[in-house]
Amino acid sequence: MDLLRRFLRHPGAVVGAVALALVVALALLAPVLFPGSPWDMAGAPFAPPGEDGMLLGTDSLGRDIAAGIAYGARVSLLVGVVATAVSVVIGVTLGALAGYLGGVVDDLVMRFTEFFQTIPSFVLAILLVAIFTPSIASIVGAIAVVSWPPVARVVRAEFLSLRNREFVQAAEVLGKRPLAIVLTDILPNALSPIIVLASLNTASAILLESSLSFLGLGDPNLMSWGFLIGSGRSVIRLAWWMSVFPGIAIFVTVLALNLIGEGLSDAMNPRLRKRGSA
């Protein structure tokens, strides 16, 4: 409760939480608000916003942009959450191994992590999705593969500092098995930075997904924000609304997640408030 109160004291975080709640509601209510398929023609092609009964206008094939945004919200949120979950599992596993075991394992894992942080991750993500053909699974996989390194680093650092604490030593002396110590003693104490990082990673996963689908690497069966902007790119002189509104949707969602991440970070580390908020 104390945590919640500190979180609510952060105006940015509250705005972020409300904005995210609206986007989630839009995603959940998409089939109710827009009963037809977002791929179907709903009005005249290139109808400007407000005309022809279309709130945000239509695209070159007469598809409703507002419906596209609502259905796109489902894809963006789903990809963001699932890809982040996968990357957290990879990052926590590797970080825990490195931090708990130390020595050669730590060295190997950290070299591996550095390798992934050095290479141009977006280029790798493009390559992965292109080779394994665009689908929701390959997109989630590619995003997870390029976004686990920060998680691994943070978890390793937490484990390094926690593993020699007295309560861990006590558990070891009591004969508790290493896996049990890692899962029940150390990990719960390392949770707060993981949660903060997960919310920031969800934001970057959504940005990454929109970039991939902008380049035409989206799941061909699913409407997404990046796809909407990508298809509006070549006709921007004719129909500005095709690219403007989906971009605002991405901006609002990503900003909301970043604000929530910062709010969580401040709420969980009250001593660090106001200092070095980068």
Partner: protein, 327 residues
């Protein structure tokens, strides 16, 4: 660090870079084999419709009927001889295709980097100096906003504003094909074409550097040597410039190295939006044609560029900061 330690430090860094580059080659090799279907189809870059003769040639050239380790060796030898494969679609060697496009990308990323560092450090320093005032708030909010906006969308919005509505700047390409300018006129033309893509690519990193500079300046400002400088009566402006900002720049250098890979990735999006004829645009064209050899070549070359840039920032850091550990 003493200068006498520099050769050993450099040697270790170079060795590490070589390992990274080799790992990328292995990565590409594994991807060819992990892809669904025949590796030869992946290399030919056309699913199903490839002509059998060419596929047979690829199979022989890469020893695709031999054990995986032999294949890896053949592949590795090829890449080390700068043979990045052949694009059947473009009827040209991949290495040549990429080298033709590299200068345009280096110009774009270099300009974007300069904008990001100069603007970011200036904004960050201003925010730290006026911490808690409206200037600080405005800069912090701007940084947050740039951070949350998709690059390609920023590009499109700038096109909408400056090219479509105001008609101030060209939106596509690197130069005006109808102009056939030379000398200074050509440079001027390229510079005009460069403004929008470079600003687009630079804005995101500008936000990153602004936040980083602000945070480290606030941190450094609390340290003893700064208090000492103030106590002995050094003017405030000089304290900030000579003591605080100088030390706060070190993390910016480190971060520049870390961000290099992202900058290259971002250039794919920006080059796609602005039809900038660099390797990002090449990658996009290869993507549309499913020309995997070119895509892997782009991955390899951009990684090498990033590794080289990292080497440079490490060296710079070692020279700038005498305290750096020789590790």
């Amino acid at each position: 660090m003493e200068l006498s330690h520099l050769p050993g430090f450099l040697l270790r860094r170079v060795l590490k870079s070589v390992v990274v580059v080799l790992a990328i080659v292995v990565c590409n090799f594994l991807l060819i084999h992990a892809a669904p279907g025949d590796p030869a189809t992946v290399m030919a870059g056309q699913s199903g419709a490839a002509d059998p003769q060419y596929m047979e040639q690829l199979r022989r050239q890469f020893g695709l009927d031999q054990p995986l380790t032999t294949q890896l060796w053949i592949y590795l030898k090829g890449v080390l001889q700068l043979d990045l494969g052949y694009s059947h679609r473009q009827q040209a060697g991949v290495a040549g295709l990429i080298m033709d496009r590299l200068p345009a990308t280096l110009l774009l990323t270099g300009a974007a980097f300069a904008i990001a560092v100069a603007g970011g450090v200036a904004m960050g320093a201003l925010a730290a100096r006026r911490v808690g005032t409206w200037a600080d708030s405005v800069i912090t909010v701007l940084a947050l906003a740039f951070y949350a906006t998709p690059l390609f969308w920023v590009g499109l919005m700038l096109v909408l504003l400056f090219s479509v509505t105001l008609e101030w700047l060209p939106a596509f390409g690197m130069s005006d094909p109808g102009l056939a300018a030379t000398g200074i006129a050509l440079w001027w033309d390229v510079a005009k074409h460069l403004v929008l893509p470079a600003v687009t690519l630079g804005l995101f990193y500008l936000a990153v550097y602004a936040r980083l500079t602000r945070a480290t300046m606030l941190e450094v400002a609390d340290q003893d040597f700064v208090k000492t400088a103030r106590a002995k009566g050094v003017p405030e402006g000089r304290v900030l410039r000579a003591h605080v900002l100088r030390n706060a720049l070190l993390p910016v250098i480190t971060f520049a190295g870390i961000q290099a890979g992202q900058l290259v990735g971002g250039s794919i999006l920006v080059e796609t939006v602005f039809a900038w004829p660099g390797i990002g645009r090449l990658a996009f064209e290869a993507l549309l044609a499913r020309d995997y050899q070119v895509l892997m070549g782009v991955f390899f070359v951009t990684s090498v560029v990033v590794v080289l840039f990292n080497l440079l920032t490490d060296l710079l850091y070692a020279l700038v900061d005498p305290r750096v550990e020789v590790a």
